[in-house]
């Protein structure tokens, strides 16, 4: 199977990534606490696959994406891209690698400079990295615009002249300009209407096929993630709680949080109008996460050990990883 072959070809690996933000206040910047946005995430994405990353607001999924493209430097941990350690690189050494890793943002309104023409926005990367002559760059911008389905005569237009869906196409063209290998898609369709959302998803899939792109697809929309991903990782309060192939995760979710999350999604299918296991309470603050398993105060299956020790992220069955004591025979017996 191609999935087997793929798994040997890791494009990017994260090892024990931790990102903490100090909270300071007052003019002397007294430290009041730490936001543990990402807390020890280990993860690899294979070349050509789409890894979906889901979780609720504040779970650290966007921070993890930003660490991956080194918009943020992790507090601890290692990021290897094509075998190269990104964290130890200087700004200058990092520059040629920036081509290879790009990002598409959620909000197509605030992520495009309103004072620049579309041509300039898409071509900026080509200019910075000195790709070809001016004329060649202009040619390339047009090719990219065609690729994402923008009208070529709009090259001198400004972002405000476009609809949300078209703006997202501009963002995609910009990300493609430097022929990246990995694109972090941070909620790329969340701000769009459903009919437009489908157009953009189709475009992302077409481009992936054509250029063998690798995606980290961050989203809170579980239906979209199910559709687009090969594997899916679930994050809760800075930690991964479950990781498996898409079908395995959606059909056989093991972690109580994953089960509750999937159960909460309203399905547009009147036959399965279901009685759901409702999750009580809110996500706790990442400034003071609960002791032990972060999920235990909301978990219906919590045991005494869960409030005391942190479960490890373990491979439960082949390629199905989970962080929960329920699947740890020793802890369960104790």
């Amino acid at each position: 199977m191609s999935a087997e072959k793929k798994s040997d070809d890791k494009l990017i690996t994260l090892k024990n990534i931790t990102k903490h933000y100090p909270i300071s206040s007052g003019s002397f910047g007294t430290r009041k606490g730490i936001v543990r946005a990402v807390d020890g995430v280990t993860l690899a994405i294979n070349r050509g696959e789409t890894l979906g990353l889901v979780g609720e607001s504040g779970c650290g999924k966007s921070t993890l994406g930003r660490v991956m493209i080194r918009l943020e430097k992790p507090t601890e941990g290692e990021v290897r891209f094509n075998g190269k350690d990104l964290i130890s690189l200087s700004r200058k050494e990092m520059s040629p690698l920036r081509n290879k890793i790009q990002i598409i943002f959620q909000d197509p309104y605030s992520s495009l400079n309103p004072r620049h023409t579309v041509g300039r926005i898409i071509g900026e990367g080509l200019q910075i990295h000195n790709k070809g002559s001016r004329a060649e760059q202009a040619q390339e911008v047009k090719r990219l615009m065609g690729l994402v389905g923008l009208r070529l005569d709009s090259v001198t237009s400004y972002p405000h002249e476009f609809s949300g869906g078209q703006r997202q196409r501009i963002g995609i063209a910009r990300a493609l300009a430097l022929q990246p290998e990995l694109i972090v898609c941070d909620e790329p369709v969340s701000a769009l209407d459903v009919s437009i959302q489908a157009q953009v998803i189709n475009l992302l899939l077409d481009l992936q096929k054509e250029f063998n792109l690798t995606y980290l697809f961050i989203s809170h929309d579980l239906s979209v993630v199910r559709y687009i991903s090969d594997r899916v990782a679930v994050m809760y309060l800075g930690r991964l709680v479950e990781l498996a192939s898409k079908d395995e995760l959606y059909e056989n979710p093991l972690h109580p949080y994953t089960t509750a999350l999937l159960g909460a999604v309203p399905t547009a299918d009147t036959k399965t109008r279901k009685k759901r296991t409702e999750l009580s309470g809110d996500v706790p603050s990442p400034i003071a996460p609960p002791r032990g398993c972060h999920f235990h105060p909301r978990c219906s299956k919590a045991m005494p050990v869960c409030s005391d020790k942190t479960p490890e992220f373990k491979e439960h069955t082949k390629n199905h990883w989970i962080r929960c004591f329920l699947y740890d025979k020793k802890a369960k017996a104790a």
């Binding site: 609720e56 607001s57 609809s163 869906g165 078209q166 209407d193 459903v194 009919s195 437009i196 959302q197 489908a198 157009q199 998803i201 189709n202 899939l205 809170h220 579980l222 239906s223 979209v224 199910r226 559709y227 687009i228 509750a260 999350l261 159960g263 909460a264 999604v265 309203p266 399905t267 547009a268 299918d269 009147t270 109008r273 759901r276 409702e278 999750l279 009580s280 809110d282 996500v283």
Partner: protein
């Protein structure tokens, strides 16, 4: 047979601006029965929120104006009422829940006082009775330890808790009807599930009718009994929720269902059946059917004449020439 609570007839709301006239809502008809949950679904700019604001008499004028139509609530045409009379209905007989619970609550007042405000205004309750009722309401919307939370400010609460406070305000005077405009759009899925089941429970226990405005077909499928689909200011389809999902009629409704991952296309091997193009400009609507330029099934007549809302079997209605004979 439950009685009709709200009857909207020929409602037309336009906005007069420097750029021209935006025909935001055009000849919208529907009725809401007592105890029923009716959903208006559509994408941005389809006129669903303007419809809600028109019912409540909250259209900013100028530039907005209700050109024609009637909104009968319990037999009275709300459009004929003075602002003073309308104020006695808003928050009392009809209340509203908005999308953004942070901006619809006042940040400098305690949430208990904000709920009590409605009670003092409409029911002349004294301070003590109002406080007891507030705690009772917070209990109803399942806010834990209400005696303490009464004194919280909005910023001390999470998004889900704030939306519960909004629901408590809406419920305060035992309204006949609640208009919920995207009530769960800003919330995470697990919190959305809590709020939806709370609304469902409350409408069943109090008999309050709900007009649920949303863009999310999943939310519609799980909560509504009947559905109105809007597109570019027009009602394009009306049906009970089961028929709508089992057998959508209008090409736009079919397109919406094909666009959402998981309904038709379950895996990326099956391509999403996206609707091409974008919604028309409300200042410059096309001739004929407003959906014709994006419609796969459009034929000559669609580009010239706009279809009316035809009757279809099972009490359904659809605005499409394909169903003229049906």
């Amino acid at each position: 047979m439950p009685k009709t609570l709200l009857e909207v007839k020929g409602l037309t709301t336009h906005f007069f601006t420097d750029r021209g006239v935006a025909r935001a809502v055009d000849d919208v008809n529907f009725e809401l029965l007592e105890g029923e949950t009716l959903s208006i679904v559509g994408e941005s700019g389809c006129g669903k929120s303007v419809t809600a604001l028109s019912i409540m008499g909250l259209i900013p004028h100028p530039p907005g104006k209700i050109i024609s139509g009637s909104v009968h609530f319990n037999g009275t045409n709300l459009l004929n009422l003075s602002e003073r009379e309308m104020r006695r209905i808003r928050g009392n007989k009809i209340s509203m829940i908005f999308q953004e619970p942070m901006t619809s609550l006042n940040p400098v007042f305690k949430i208990g006082d904000q709920i009590a405000e409605v009670l003092k205004l409409h029911q002349n309750l004294n301070k003590k009775d109002a406080r007891d009722r507030v705690i009772d309401l917070l209990n109803q919307v399942r806010i834990p330890s209400p005696e303490e939370r009464v004194n919280d400010y909005p910023h001390q609460m999470s998004g889900g808790m704030r939306q519960r406070v909004m629901i408590a305000i809406a419920l305060a005077c035992d309204p006949k009807m609640i208009i919920a405009d995207e009530p769960t759009t800003a919330l995470d899925v697990t919190i959305q599930a809590q709020i939806l089941s709370l609304m469902d429970h409350l409408s069943k226990s109090t008999g309050t009718s709900i007009l649920l405005i949303t863009h999310d077909l999943g939310v519609v499928a799980e909560t509504a009994k009947n559905v109105v689909v809007m597109y570019a200011g027009r009602v394009v389809e009306k049906a009970d929720v089961k028929s709508l999902f089992d057998d959508p009629l209008h090409p736009y409704t079919i397109g919406l269902m094909g666009s959402i991952p998981g309904i038709v296309a379950k895996d990326k091997k099956i391509r999403l059946d996206a609707i091409p193009g974008t919604v028309p400009n409300l200042f410059d609507l096309p001739d004929g059917c407003r959906f014709s330029r994006r419609c796969k099934d459009a034929f000559e007549r669609c580009y010239k004449e706009e279809p009316e809302l035809f009757d279809y079997k099972g009490g359904r209605k659809v605005r499409c020439w394909k169903y003229e004979e049906a």
